[in-house]
């Protein structure tokens, strides 16, 4: 089985889908000849021609709007927003158009669009190259939101997203492009080539949307995480010696509620981890759902470990990033209440 990093896996997913379905088109800023600033679309223009993989003007709203029009025609646009921090200009086309089209036309018109965007910090990108805006999209009915944590899932989830007939926000933790970064920024990252999840089949396969994965089975506390935070949580578990069950949500909406509820009912404790700012982050919804569904099983308060409610600062990013130490503290608080 070939070894791929996450960039190669994403590239392979688009390659496979463009080969299978000539309604799949890929476009965005610098994605054509150059292959994207993170190289995710490298080679696609050469292979499929400039009218199936092309550069766009710098107008995220224009990218989404034309994608909606193409979707109405019958294409399956896969667009790249260069950084998730730059998706805001497209908010109206996403919320008022892509997410609403099926509903307002009672199914006559749909928006089978996949919006790829690198998210998360850890590259000294400051406040405009580090954000994790997933919570906003999960509040918008009609949008699905996905965040993979490894190459195998990334390819399988992206294929499912492209085949999905509804708009999917596909957020790619850029710190995971090259390896399972666990928050220890002072240590080298093991490359995906040396990680089992770096084994990625060449061809077509799916990882279904709406299904979480248990990254680590455990008994004493449930950790709900996604993206980079999965590896930070695993590191925190190893370092704290707490027997936690770490759930990689993979899809935030629709959420795999059963996997979550079963685990929390078993452990009676819950820690929610995300990199995004805390207030009204997706952790709030997870916390609300857990207490609504597992109230009688909870032995201690649900703990949220998240990014602070500040912009992502450049020089202080490692004080902002919810690293293994902060997550380990959260685990302890969740387990013994201190």
């Amino acid at each position: 089985m070939p070894k791929m990093n996450m960039v190669q896996a994403l590239n392979s997913a688009m390659d496979v889908m463009m080969a299978r379905d000539d309604n799949v088109v890929v476009f965005g800023e610098d994605v054509g000849y150059f292959g994207g600033v993170f190289r995710c679309t490298e080679g696609l223009q050469r292979k499929y021609g400039p009218d199936r993989a092309f550069d766009t003007p710098i107008a995220e709203a224009g990218i989404l709007a034309t994608a909606v029009g193409m979707g109405a025609y019958g294409l399956r646009p896969v667009v790249e927003i260069q950084f998730a921090d730059y998706i805001y200009p497209a908010t109206d086309q996403l919320i008022s158009e892509a997410a609403r089209l099926r509903y307002r036309s009672a199914g006559e018109f749909t928006a089978p669009i996949t919006v790829r965007a690198p998210c998360g910090g850890g590259i000294f990108g400051g406040q405009t190259h580090s954000q994790s805006p997933e919570a906003i999209f999960t509040h918008v009915c009609g949008l699905k939101t996905v965040m993979p944590s490894n190459p195998y899932d990334a390819k399988g989830l992206l294929i499912s997203a492209i085949e999905d007939d509804d708009p999917v926000i596909f957020l790619e933790p850029k710190r995971l492009y090259n390896g399972p970064f666990d928050g220890h920024h002072d240590r080298p990252v093991t490359p995906w080539t040396e990680h089992p999840a770096g084994d990625v089949p060449e061809g077509h396969y799916r990882v279904p949307l709406g299904k979480a994965a248990v990254a680590r089975a455990g008994e004493s506390v449930t950790v709900l995480a996604y993206g980079t935070m999965v590896y930070v949580a695993l590191a925190a578990v190893a370092e704290s010696g707490i027997d936690a069950e770490v759930i990689d949500l993979r899809t935030l909406l629709p959420l795999d509620i059963d996997t979550i509820v079963d685990s929390v009912k078993k452990t009676g404790r819950c820690v929610i981890v995300h990199e995004a700012t805390r207030t009204s982050g997706f952790g709030a919804e997870l916390s609300a759902l857990v207490q609504e569904n597992c109230f009688y099983s909870l032995e201690l308060p649900i703990v949220r470990v998240t990014g602070w409610d500040t912009p992502y600062p450049h020089s202080l990013e490692w004080d902002y990033f919810p690293g293994p130490k902060r997550v380990a503290d959260g685990l302890r608080r969740a387990v013994d209440g201190t």
Binding site: V68, G69, Q93, E97, R102, R104, E108
Partner: protein, 410 residues
Amino acid sequence: MKNSVPLRLHVPEPPARPGQAPDFSWVKVPAAGSVSRPDIGTDPHDMREHAYTMIRVLDGDGKAVGPWNPRLDAETLRRGLRTMALTRAYDDRLFRAQRQGKTSFYMRCTGEEAIGVAQAMALDNRDMTFPTYRQQGLLIARGWPLVDMMNQVFSNTRDRLKGRQMPVMYSSKAAGFFSISGNLATQFPQAVGWAMASAIKRDTRIAVGWIGEGATAEGDFHHACTFASVYRAPVILNIVNNQYAISSFQGIAGGEHTTFAARARGYGLPALRVDGNDFLAVHAATGWAADRARANFGATLIELFSYRASAHSTSDDPSKYRPEDEAAHWPLGDPIARLKAHLIALGEWSEERQRQMEAEVKEEVRAAMREAESYGTLGTGEHHSPATMFDDVFKEMPWHLRRQRQELGF
């Protein structure tokens, strides 16, 4: 500092407010037939003056003159006239229906009927349209059943949109009529995207978008023009300049210092500025742009110069911000009256036949109304089951929506 006169903010003011005499002296109306008709392959730079003049075909005596005369046969002209009259009758009836409490809201296109109707007739029925809420004429011209439109306005049991959308936010894939959005301008770049898709698939169908002059200020307008220019998309981009955006005259949208057609100049797109109340001019300009797009010369921006003769909507009272009798002073007349005069001048029509036809269309509307009302109105509250509220958010209903539907008792 070199020059230190105090700076001033310029806030555009319309020529006349309530209580003042209507003033359209600023409207320059070139003689019918005076504007040249360039070849469809013309370099936009070589036809730049077409952004500043006004294409007109019908002269004061109801004659069709000049190079833009589309030379339509009498039968087609009569169909155009009847369709415009039908559109107006439909509007007037549904406006009344709203006043009678049969629905929540309505919007008329009174005075702008030539736009939707002539353009639909100049296009191929398979071309895809991305209209605003004021192009009901498109649907009617394409022969879409009035009853189906009324069902939407009444949100009744037969409303294909399941009562989800406000009145007039029609959608008809079969009629090539894109789902109207309540959010202004969003459809304009979507039309460009549809056109790009058609080009990517080596299709022959083009896309056509409409936007109000007020909404051209939205970024979506800029994105539409930019993408249309960059990819030479087969699309027609129509700006309907009816002089008003609710209470704001066109100067607030940027009409004081140049024309809206001139926006095209900035993108290297060809522009046609057209008398929007001249059925023949609208038909001809649309045909020119369609031929240009089909021949892979790309997009055309058309400014349709018209006047919003009625209120913005049933929620609006224009007497609060413009002279009561302003409509009567509009220099470009009424599209129905002008086409009628032309047909009469041709000896193809008469006052008598006009009265007869107007009675027919009123009856057609009345009949449709009777049927639509039999399926319920918003007033009577016969509508789709609340259970349908949770459908179509996604293709498959996820667990959280199923649970919420149960919470509601379904």
